[in-house]
Each structure stands twice: as C-alpha cells, then as structure tokens.
Amino acid sequence: MRLSVDGKAVEIEADPDMPLLWALRDLAGITGPKFGCGIAACGACTVLIDGIPVRSCSLPVGQALGEITTIEGISTGGKLHPVQQAWLDEQVAQCGYCQAGQIMSAVALLDEIADPTDADIDNAMGGNLCRCGTYPRIRAAIHKAAALKQAGA
C-alpha cells in the first residue's frame, strides 16, 4: 500500500481497515499525530488530507487517498509554519500532547479563513480537546498566526 505523507511516498503493508493513525505511527514511524481517543472525539490525531482536517484515528488507511499532511510536514526549508511560530511566540503548549492536532486544525482554518473571528475559531477548534486548558493562548496564537501569515512570515 502506498501513501503520500508530507510530500513523500510511504510504502506500508497494512490491513486496509487499520486506522490511518496506527498505520502512520506503528508502520510508517510518523509519531507526530497522537492517539487520544480512537473515536474522533478529541482531535489529537488530526492530519490534513488534501487540506481538509481529518481525524486519522477513525479513517481506515485504505481510504486515506490523497496527500496527507502531518505536524511533521508543515515546516518548510527549516522555517516554522506561521502557526507553529505563533504557538512558540504565545507559549501555548503545556503538556503538548494535543497540540499537534490543535495546530493542524488551525492550519486548515487559516487556509480557509485568512483572518478568523473568535466565532470562526470556536467553530473550527471545538473538536480539539485540551485537558491542560491552553484554549486562551490557542485563541491568541491563531490571531497572531493570521497576522504573521498576512505579513508573509
């Protein structure tokens, strides 16, 4: 089975029913997406498929057609993605476990809405759970990332 992950072809032997998350983590060694619930309830496993945020714990790998982007693939040429830079600037993460998923949802949001309102953020981020309670800083970082992106950072 061939997947396209972060711009690279990945060859794996997997039961097509295996969730994409476990194929990435256990078979392809891509551990950036995290396991949190297995039922698409927490968002820790979020990756983008052709730019759309997807809960990889609940998508069979056999259906993961398209270009898969994980947290490990959004920095380009040694430069952090504006969302990652904003997360660093705002010192968002605490335990950090949910942040790969939070960041991927935020990347997708900003690709769709360049300058999201608080209501847009609420709508886009409601599926990503954080038990440390970093929500206020996530909100600030998304606004910051929007500004960084518009400034061409």
Partner: protein
C-alpha cells in the same frame, strides 16, 4: 487542649505511609549522601559536578530536571534555578529528566504531612516539617506531586548551579594563573578583564569536575536575578509545536513489538471463565499473557502493531467475577452519605464548642445542607502506556511516570532483576494530573516484556481501558450546618465530610502487605485548614467503607473540599444577608495574605458593580499547596444555556519564580476544575465504570472557555505551589455564580444535571 496535643491526635499520615514504605529500604540513613547517578554514564569529554549538572568540553551544558514534565513547565523552572546561578541563559542549556535516583528525593512532598496549618510557623510545626522532609530524603523518594517541585528545587538546584560555577571559576583561575576573585562569568564564559583573557565553561569542565565540591555557596540576591522572577521561554516548546517524539507513546526502539492490556473492569475481580482462542488466532497477534498484580487481574496482548493488539484485546472472551463494592452509583453514594451522617468521625479541626453553640440556637438562625461530588477520571490526553525491554538480565522501562524510584523498584521486583540492572527512562507526559503516580502501566509493560524474548514491547492502553480500569478521584459527601449570628457572620460551623480513605487505597496497591487504617487528611483537605476565624468551627472526617481504587487527582482533597467549604460559605453569606466577599473579609481578617487576595480579585472583577440583566458573578477562595487563591467568575444566561464569560484569579504564591508559567498554571487549574464541575462524573453499573471515552466524559471545549485575567501576589513569607491551586476554587465560584444568576443552589456535582451550559 494545646496545639501539639491536637496535632498528635491527627495521624502523621503521609509520614506514616512513607515510613512504612521506607522500612522496605531499611538501610538508608538520613545523613547518607546519595551518590551522583550521572557519574555512571558520562560521555567522553563530559564532566559532572553534582546530580544536577553536566558540562562537556564542547560547551554543552546539561541540567537534570528530575521531576515529571506533565505540562506544568517544571523542566523550565528547575533548569532556570541552575542556570541562574551558573550564570547562563536557558538557551545555552539542554534539559533532561535524568535517571531514577534517590539523589533526586523530593523533601517537600512529605513536609506538610503533619497536618499543621500552612500559616503555622511555630517551632513545633517547623520541627515536624523538617522531620517529615527528612523521611522523603531517607527514602530517596523521587516523586512529582503536591505542587512541590519548585519549592523543593528552589534551594537545592540553585546551590547546584552555584557550586558548579565556583568549581569552573576555580579551574579557570588555575588555568589562567590568577585568583578566582579576579574572574567574572558571562553566559558560559569565564573572563579575566585585566588581561582580556577568557575560557569557556567547556574548556575547563573536565578540570573543574575533578575539584572538591565547595563546602558552602553564596546564592544570588533576589534583586540580582537575571532569569528568575521573569517569564522564560519554555525549554520544551519547540519540540511540542513540531510534533517531536518526546512522549511515552512515541518511544521507538529497534525490533520493538506492540501491546495492550484488557484488565478486569470489576475492581478486584478475577476472570472466572475465559477463552483466548479467537483473540490468539487474529492476524498480527503474537502472544496473550495473563496478568495478576496488586492493581488487578486480566490479560496482556503482544502483537505486531497497536491496532492488532487492540482488536485482539477486544476479542478476548472473558467473564469477570463479582464486585466487592456496591454495584451501582446510588448504592455507592448512599454508603458515603450514610457515613457522613452516622459514621465514626475524627475532628480535623475543632475550635470552640460547636455542640454548645448549636444546642441553644434558634431554628431560624440555623442553616443545614447536604453536598456531594462524584468519582472522577484524570483523563490526561495521552492514554496510559509504557515500553519495556528485558534483555541479558537488564530491564529498561520507558515510562511517562511521576514516581521513578518506585517504578524502578516495582518493575525490578516483578521481573526479578536487581535494582542496579533496572533503568527507568522517564519521558515527557501528555498530562498526568496524578494518574501517572501509579505503577500499573509500567508493571504491565514489564510483564509483557518478560514474554517477548528480549524484544522491547510498547504497551498502549485504549482510552476505554484508561477510563474504565483506572484510579479515581474519590466521590465524597458531607453534611453541613451553620448558626448565623446577629451581624450575619457565622457563630458556629459544623462540617461532617466522608470519602474513601485514599491512602489506604494507595497502600493496597503499593504495599499490600502493610496495614492501613490511619486517618486520611485528604478527606477534609481544603475544609479543615482554611484561613477563616469562626468562634465554633468543627470539620470532621469520616472514612467511607468502600474499596474502589482511588488516588491523587489534581488538587486531591481540595478538589472536593474547595467546593464544599466555599459553596456552603456562600450559603452562609446569603443566609446572613452579607455580601459573600465582605463575609470573607471579616472571617479572614487575621490573615493579611488571604485578605490581600480577596481584595485584589474583588478589585479586578469590579465586584459589587451593577451587572446587566441575565449576568451574575460568583466568588470562592481556597488556600491549597501553600498558595492563597481567590477566583471570581461571571456567567450569563443565553438562549443556548449558561455561558462562562470571564474569570478573574488572584493568587499569592509567596515568591513568583516564573510569572508566565504561573499564569498558565492558574488558568489550567481553573479550566480543569470548571470542566469537572460543569459535566464530569464517573458512575457505576454492575460493578463497572459506565463512562468509556470523551463522548461521555468530556471536558471544557474552546467555545466554552471564558476569558481569564490573573494577578500574582507575593505577600506571604513562604513559597507556595502553582500546579494545583487554580482547581479548588473553580467549582464553587461557578456554583455560586449560578446561584446568583438563577437562584438555584446546586449542592451536587456535576452542575449540568441541573442547568444547561452553552
């Protein structure tokens, strides 16, 4: 009765527990200096100065921050202690957790086990603190919990940095042929200004590491701090925004296998019938192993990948034994409420004469209430997991845990491997909140590794397993009454609070052969030790006769008692016709630190202002883990339900080491408490936990999160913790705000059984 006698009547519980544990070590004596564990494992060109500092000739400075990094930022703060005195910025430092070692004992974790009020500075209180801190040292108890890590590291890790710096300067002086007092340090370089010569730390590290450790060090004055007292960029932030493999669940070793467990969801029950054949025949499954430990009975699966292990565990056909506790929530809560009503009580606080004060009280001046809270799951984002390898008589355990020396001991014991051949690698943690103080996940990985022919096995639990076969915040119930005086202040307050004895539950898992039965201060922690002065004031603790596995959950007893005490105090204020904040000012007048916090949060929130229709505020205060915390929350009635608009927090931490991290922790603690208060409960049916995942045990989401404003005060003369102190006042502040908004007094959590949240 004198204070000492009263204290003696309480049990020195935490001390007793660790002494009991310490008996197993036996030979450790208080004065024995622990060897530096870094000496065993130095790389070429690397020197170590003490258990906290390594410097290599290429100028790599490694600081050991030997506490669990579970999100609270402790690796940054502990590294800053060393860096401050070593005179380097944090970006020059590599921070590691380091090995499990007695050298990393946490003295503060046991210090407050004597039950003295935090504000009690008497010689007796101080002496007991010193003795109990010594207990942790004797045991070499390396542990993270009780919001103690910063307090514990404050002196020791600054001293470690200062001593290393002195040794580096001495070595540089010898190298340059000058006196040490002619030299200055500047961010990793030692400079001789007079001759414009300099050497780097790395250049003299090997020489310096051979010098004797100085007998005494002088620490920098607070006024000269360059890093401490100011927000530092967290040392783990880059890894966490790039998806780096830092968590236990990310551990990858050559030739690694994968696994999971399926343990009895009926606590204490064994399988009465099982058929493994279907599970064993599933693709990718290698072995299914029975598991039997002090944590429970069940099965472990070894497989080619985690998904195959999950599927096989689910396919195990098994019938479990009968529950030894009442089988459903109603019966369990009845046991607790009956204990609160009639059980034999120990008074944890008993000021004045409460019985006399109620005996002649006019009925219309007495209020009574019953409160209860449910069991709760910790539910950290990263499900329980660990990785282990047993090869050539050496056991390696990669474990996201809060108790490394106990993990080393327990896993070595179960595998029959001597302690010096057990290596515990403590990873970063995707949340813990107390859950990772347990040994179960490390033990299970070790047990499966014993069946893996020397290959490492990464054992990951499903979320369902994590939630249904965990350890829980104990449920609790209480009966409360107060006599209101003519001025509206309480003349007498009487609290009878019941919950399971948590220390007994922990002892049954950690040291099952040792007897329990000591009074557990956690049952009333947050009610019996609050800075209120009330003439007749009794707080009684009653152990509930249940054996559901319970454990430390962020803020422990304070998570229960913060709500009980402060919601009832709000009832007292309303019954007496006194503003709730004004009542606190009266009752806390003897405690300037508390008063300052109350006044600050009232000022920040503009308490007393006229609010728009459909909005209201609630207030609560808890002194916990040495920090004084007041919170005000504003809520609004909206068509979608009650919305949490804004929370103001004032906290006195004594000395604020990193205001950025303190701010984050106070908000984090509050959100954790609000999440539980709004909607979380663990309930039971047929002897099993009913909740299984985030669909039925959810937490606050982004769209529910209020704005926050935090003020950090430094009035009290002793330092407090920060990791847990935001949690206890959150539930009562919200419940009190909902009363102000709706007139509905909710005396049982979670609140969403009575009101709807937006």
């Amino acid at each position: 009765m004198g204070r000492v006698a009263k204290i003696a009547r309480r049990t020195f519980l935490i001390g007793a527990a660790v002494v009991a544990g310490g008996a197993a070590f036996g030979y450790w004596t208080y004065r024995r200096p622990y060897p530096n564990p870094l000496e065993d494992d130095l790389a070429e060109g690397e020197a170590t100065f003490n258990p906290f500092v390594k410097i290599a000739s290429d100028n790599t400075i490694t600081v050991i921050a030997p506490r669990a990094e579970m999100g609270q930022g402790i690796s940054t703060t502990l590294a800053a202690f060393v860096a401050e005195e070593l005179d380097v910025t944090l970006d020059k430092v590599t921070v590691e957790h380091g090995p499990a070692s007695y050298a990393y004992y946490n003295a503060v974790i046991t210090e407050e086990g004597g039950g003295f009020y935090f504000w009690d500075d008497s010689r007796v209180a101080e002496a007991v603190r010193s003795v109990l801190g010594g207990v942790a040292k004797v045991m070499g108890l390396q542990g993270t919990g009780g919001s103690t890590s910063t307090r514990d590291g404050y002196d020791r890790m600054r001293q470690a940095g200062a001593a290393a710096r002195m040794m580096l300067v001495a070595a540089a002086a010898a190298r340059l042929g000058v006196r040490p007092d002619e030299l200055e340090t500047d961010n990793g370089t030692i400079v001789h200004r007079a001759s414009s010569r300099s050497v780097t730390y790395g250049e003299v590290a090997i020489d310096a590491g051979k010098l004797d450790v100085p007998d005494a060090v002088t620490l920098r004055d607070k006024a000269q701090w360059k890093l401490l007292g100011k927000p530092q960029p967290r040392v783990d932030m880059l890894a966490k925004v790039t998806g780096a493999p830092i968590f236990g669940i990310d551990v990858t070793q050559p030739d690694m296998l994968f696994g999971t467990v399926r343990m009895s969801p009926v606590f204490g029950a064994r399988p009465v019938r099982s058929d493994l054949s279907k599970a064993e025949a599933m693709p990718g499954v290698m072995k299914i192993v029975p598991i039997e430990t002090s944590y429970g009975s069940g099965f472990g699966v070894i497989a080619q990948n985690t998904w195959a292990a999950f599927k096989a565990a689910e396919a195990i056909d098994v019938e479990w034994g009968k529950p030894s506790n009442p089988a459903d929530t109603n019966a369990i809560m009845k046991t607790i409420m009956d204990a609160a009503a009639k059980g034999s009580a120990s008074a944890m606080r008993d000021d004045g004469d409460v019985d006399a004060a109620f005996a002649d009280a006019p009925a219309d001046r007495v209020i009574e209430a019953e409160y209860s809270v449910p069991y709760l799951s910790h539910a950290p984002m990263e499900p329980m997991n660990a990785t282990a390898r047993l090869k050539d008589g050496v056991l390696d355990v990669w474990s996201p845990n809060q108790m490394p020396v106990l993990v080393r001991w327990f896993c070595g014991d179960i595998a029959g491997v001597p302690l010096d051949k057990v290596h515990v690698h403590t990873t970063s943690m995707g949340g813990a909140f107390g859950r990772r103080g347990e040994m179960d996940f490390s033990l299970y990985a070790t047990l499966l590794a014993m069946h893996a022919d020397g290959r490492p096995v990464k054992v990951t639990w499903t979320r369902e397993e994590d939630m249904r076969v965990g350890v829980y915040r104990p449920a609790a119930g209480g009966r409360f009454r107060a006599r209101i005086g003519d001025d509206g202040s309480p003349v007498a307050v009487d609290m009878r609070i019941s919950a399971q004895n948590m220390m007994d539950s922990i002892m049954s898992r950690w040291f099952p052969s040792l007897p329990g039965g000591a009074t557990d201060p956690a049952i009333t922690d947050g009610s019996h030790n609050q800075p209120y002065t009330i003439p007749n004031y009794r707080v009684a603790s009653i152990a509930a006769p249940l054996t559901i596995p319970v454990s430390f959950w962020r803020s422990v007893g304070n998570s229960v008692n913060g709500y009980f005490h402060e919601a009832f105090m709000d009832e007292i204020a309303h019954a007496g016709g006194v503003d709730p904040v004004e009542l606190r000012r009266r009752l806390m007048a003897n405690h300037p630190a508390a008063l300052a916090v109350v006044n600050k949060v009232a000022e920040m929130s503009n308490w007393g202002e006229t609010l728009p229709a459909g909005t209201a505020k609630g207030f609560a205060f808890t002194l916990s883990f040495g920090s004084w915390c007041g919170q005000v929350i504003q809520v609004a009635d909206t068509p979608a339900g009650i919305k949490l608009e804004k929370m103001w927090i004032a906290v006195d931490v004594g000395t604020a080491i990193d205001p950025g991290i303190i701010d984050a922790q106070l908000v984090s603690g509050a959100i954790y408490g609000l999440s539980a208060a709004m909607g979380q409960q663990v309930t039971f049916k047929d002897g099993m936990v009913e909740q299984s995942n985030f669909h039925d045990f959810d937490a606050m989401r982004m769209f529910q999160c209020p704005d926050f404003e935090v003020a950090i005060l430094e009035n009290f003369h002793r330092m407090g913790g920060v990791g847990e102190v935001g949690t206890p006042p959150a539930a009562p502040a919200l419940a009190n705000a909902i009363f102000a908004l709706t007139g509905k007094r909710i005396r049982s959590l979670p609140l969403d059984r009575e009101v709807r949240f937006a």
